[in-house]
């Protein structure tokens, strides 16, 4: 009920805010296809409402769980929507290469660089080679997730006398101290149906950004260095330091591969706690038990970086990309609308949404937890995207996932990295 009235309040508030400079699109229909369903879909519709009102256009959004499959079918058979929202940059890059996406233009590129925090990295994320092998901006990031977070229960920390670690060395020391105290430090679950393994890829990416410079990360993601480079193997082995030690993981190493990522954080909240720490992206809070109050019963800290390495504070993230799959004035107007602070603030107020838009007010976030996460995004010195999303689908959403499952169930980092490298080399 509260959410409903909030929705109404927000759409009322921001309705008249959009000026008269919007083109008159009455009688036109803008079709959008995307992966937002359930509550996300409701929130997205609230974002679209003022746009539809200002332009007079009919905005027709269709959300689907199988978006990734469906957009391929729709674009290849000529019934593409005007705008598509890609959850994976890799898929957008493939379609851009086939000429199925329309470039967003230099103006949007400059806008992104100036108005998004760490703007260049957002431009890079949305730029792909077109059919003519020229790199252009195709994707506009809207709605981001923050990945470099460790979730914990402040009360349990206080009861046990643990402090939030500031450096990676501290985090490792804390892990060992919890084991020495007879507790279990981590809850790690990498199960996710057909996508089992992805939470472990986030671990490895986050660890690589802490072990090596962002350049190494970029070279790894773009396959300029092989997957079984010793530095990558070292990152996988560091993940093994956490995950392949029965004393450090709730349920032991065997539970890593068999626990679903959505159920994994439950261990933080059992009595007594099964674990103290959980590494997962910002969205995981929607999987916490219903009575957990964010900021009070559960909180997060930044997955710290090594004090001994001068690598700054790298932040790993992901996001959804808006791309034009069927060009029309309405589609262009929609992308322009996404540049307004209102388009961000409406969803910020509804929760479950983070943005690097510098013009959007942090006050719009409904709670401190989200506000702090938003702050991390705005302050990021090094921002890198989920590497597995950037790699070719057969690796990033294939052999990398399965490789991490193999690693969790006993194979060595070296072996796993080599087999992933072979699968990557075998790609045309």
């Amino acid at each position: 009920m509260l959410r409903l009235s909030l929705l109404a309040a927000v759409s009322l508030m921001s309705g008249p805010c959009l000026g008269a400079e919007w083109p008159d699109l009455s009688g036109q229909t803008i079709t959008i296809a995307g992966p937002y369903i359930g509550p996300d879909e409701e929130h997205f519709r609230a974002v679209l409402a003022p746009f539809a009102e200002a332009t007079g256009a009919v905005v027709d959004y269709a959300g689907s769980q199988q978006f990734s499959q469906q957009i391929v079918i729709d674009t290849s058979s000529g019934s593409a929507p005007n705008v598509a929202i890609f959850p994976l940059p890799g898929l957008a890059a493939t379609l851009a290469g086939e000429g199925k996406l329309a470039p967003l233009g230099d103006e949007t590129e400059t806008w992104l660089r100036d108005n998004y925090a760490a703007g260049q990295s957002w431009v890079d994320l949305g730029s792909y080679e077109g059919p003519d092998h020229v790199r252009r901006l195709y994707g506009f990031t809207y709605k981001t997730d923050l990945k470099s977070l460790v979730w914990y229960v402040p009360d349990e920390f206080a009861d046990a006398g643990y402090a939030v670690p500031e450096t990676f060395e501290d985090l490792q020391a804390l892990t060992e101290k919890i084991v020495a105290d007879g507790g279990t430090p981590w809850c790690i679950g990498i199960g996710s149906g057909a996508a089992t393994g992805w939470p472990a890829t986030d671990w490895v990416e986050d660890l690589l950004l802490r072990l090596e410079s962002p350049d190494v990360y970029d070279q790894w993601v773009s396959h300029k260095i092989p997957f079984n480079d010793p530095r990558i193997v070292a990152a996988i082995e560091l993940f093994g330091w956490f995950a392949k030690d029965n004393a450090k993981v709730a349920g032991g190493t065997n539970a890593v591969g068999t626990t679903d990522f959505s159920l994994s954080p439950q261990g933080l909240f059992t009595v007594p706690p099964q674990c103290y720490l959980h590494h997962q992206a910002s969205f995981i809070s929607s999987f916490f038990p219903e009575n957990v109050v964010l900021g009070e019963d559960a909180d997060f800290f930044y997955f710290p970086s090594y004090a001994g390495k001068e690598l700054g504070k790298p932040v790993l993230g992901a996001g959804t990309l808006f791309a034009i799959t069927n060009d029309s004035p309405g589609a262009r107007a929609l992308i322009d609308y996404l540049k307004t602070p209102q388009a961000h603030e409406i969803w910020m107020a509804l929760g479950g949404f983070l943005t690097p838009h510098k013009g959007a007010s942090l006050d719009a976030y409904p709670n401190d937890t989200l506000r702090e996460q938003g702050q991390i995004l705005l302050n990021a010195t090094t921002f890198r995207f989920d590497g597995s999303d950037l790699m070719p689908g057969a690796v990033g959403a294939g052999s990398f996932w399965t490789g991490m499952v193999d690693f969790a169930s006993g194979r060595s980092a070296e072996e796993v990295a080599t087999s992933i490298e072979e699968s990557w080399k075998a790609l045309p």
């Binding site: 229909t29 296809a33 992966p35 937002y36 369903i37 359930g38 509550p39 996300d40 879909e41 027709d60 269709a62 959300g63 689907s64 769980q65 199988q66 469906q70 079918i73 729709d74 290849s76 058979s77 000529g78 019934s79 009360d155 349990e156 009861d159 959505s262 159920l263 439950q266 909240f269 059992t270 009595v271 007594p272 706690p273 969205f283 929607s286 999987f287 038990p289 219903e290 009575n291 009070e296 019963d297």
Partner: protein, 398 residues
């Protein structure tokens, strides 16, 4: 179960003494293995049904097979802040009830630290860090009293071991049934399913009669081609077929080719090979004499088909009707590709999938959703099931 085992035992004994009774061990064994098979087959559905009556938090911590057991769980809660205290004759008191406790629950013990749950038994008191002392009763009510006013702004935590009799909830069903647009997607599903079931039956019945009883060149070749089409995976044809629809739509000036007619035709095409094969084999098994008698009486092929073959083929028609209805009703892929996901056109399966949430975080509604969608296919099945087995055997037993 023990009775069955005993019976088997006595039967075996009787058999040893020389076939004196009528009970056959083979028959008993068949019944026993059937019973086990039925149990195995119904277990997942039963589990789903039980799960649909459990809350999300229960589903997350324990399996459905524990649903009927008295659950002893360890839980924690945060006590109220100073705001909710009341002054009472020189004492300051905070009263309340631990969450999830009522007549059916019993507190076994409690404590102020997650590692020390047995610090106090119900009725005993513990002194609090924020002042005063707390007493929790077995029924879950607590009283925290102090002689000085409370000042804490953050409630301390309290942990307890609670014994709980089985609990069930209909919240999942309420959530599914009150979703906006559910009624519409029910109607959409019917609008897709009913024509997509009857069109292929109509076409296939004519085709099957022709292939079974009419003489024309290449008849067998056509039959073999139709059977060959059974192995074509429908996924292969999604893109070409949708392109064709779009081309036709554009030629007539329409925006896109995603229409109800398109879905009906797609389902018809995907259903026809099996329908023709099934019905042809059944019709081939009908007695030739009836047909010949009708010919001698001067009946045309059309008259033979409508007056004789069609009524006689009813079991086969009904069994295919069940098949096709179930397949179309449960289909998500074809409807998504040829109809789209717009809210106005979303079918029931699509609606349920969208309830899940972007990251699948509302998966508890799927359990209830499954039983809401199953109602219609079950009705169809029970209405026609007496033809089902007869129809399935059709053509195979000759």
């Amino acid at each position: 179960m023990t009775a069955v085992v005993q019976q088997v035992g006595t039967t075996v004994a009787r058999v040893r003494t020389g076939w004196r009774t009528k009970a056959k061990p083979g028959q008993l064994l068949t019944h026993l293995s059937l019973l086990i098979l039925v149990l195995i087959w119904t277990a997942p559905t039963a589990g789903l049904l039980i799960s649909s009556f459990r809350s999300k938090d229960q589903l997350a911590v324990s399996g459905w097979w524990t649903a009927l057991a008295v659950a002893v769980t360890q839980e924690g809660t945060r006590l109220p802040t100073a705001d909710s205290s009341i002054a009472e004759t020189g004492l300051f008191v905070i009263r309340g009830r631990l969450p999830g406790t009522d007549m059916g629950t019993k507190i076994r013990s409690y404590g102020l630290n997650a590692r020390d749950l047995t610090a106090a038994a119900p009725g005993e008191s513990l002194s609090m860090q924020d002042g005063g002392s707390i007493t929790v009763e077995a029924d879950g009510s607590f009283e925290w009293s102090a002689d000085r006013p409370f000042t804490h702004t953050r409630g301390p935590r309290l942990f307890y071991v609670v014994e709980r009799s089985p609990r069930f909830t209909i919240d999942n069903y309420i959530e599914v049934l009150t979703t906006s647009g559910l009624g519409r997607s029910f109607i959409n599903s019917f609008a897709v399913t009913i024509p997509a079931t009857f069109i292929p039956i109509l076409v296939a019945a004519f085709a099957a009669y022709a292939l079974a009883w009419m003489r024309f060149p290449f008849r067998n070749l056509i039959v073999v081609t139709v059977i060959g089409l059974l192995v074509v995976p429908l996924q292969m044809s999604l893109i070409p077929l949708l392109s064709l629809y779009n081309d036709i739509a554009h030629a007539f000036g329409a925006a896109d080719g995603k229409t109800y007619l398109g879905v009906w035709l797609a389902h018809t095409a995907f259903g026809l090979p099996l329908a023709i094969y099934l019905l042809r084999n059944y019709m081939l098994g009908l007695p030739r004499e009836i047909m010949e008698a009708a010919r001698i009486d001067g009946a045309s092929h059309f008259q033979i088909f409508t007056k004789i073959v069609l009524p006689l083929s009813f079991p086969a028609l009904a069994s295919f009707l069940i098949f096709q209805f179930l397949w179309v009703w449960n289909d998500l892929l074809v409807a998504m590709v040829f109809l789209g996901n717009q809210e106005t056109k979303l079918v029931l399966t699509g609606k349920l999938a969208s309830l899940l949430g972007t990251r699948g975080n509302n998966w508890e509604v799927l359990t209830a959703g499954a039983f809401v969608t199953i109602v219609v296919p079950l009705t169809v099945f029970f209405a026609l099931q007496r033809y089902f087995v007869r129809g399935l055997l059709a053509g195979s037993v000759k």
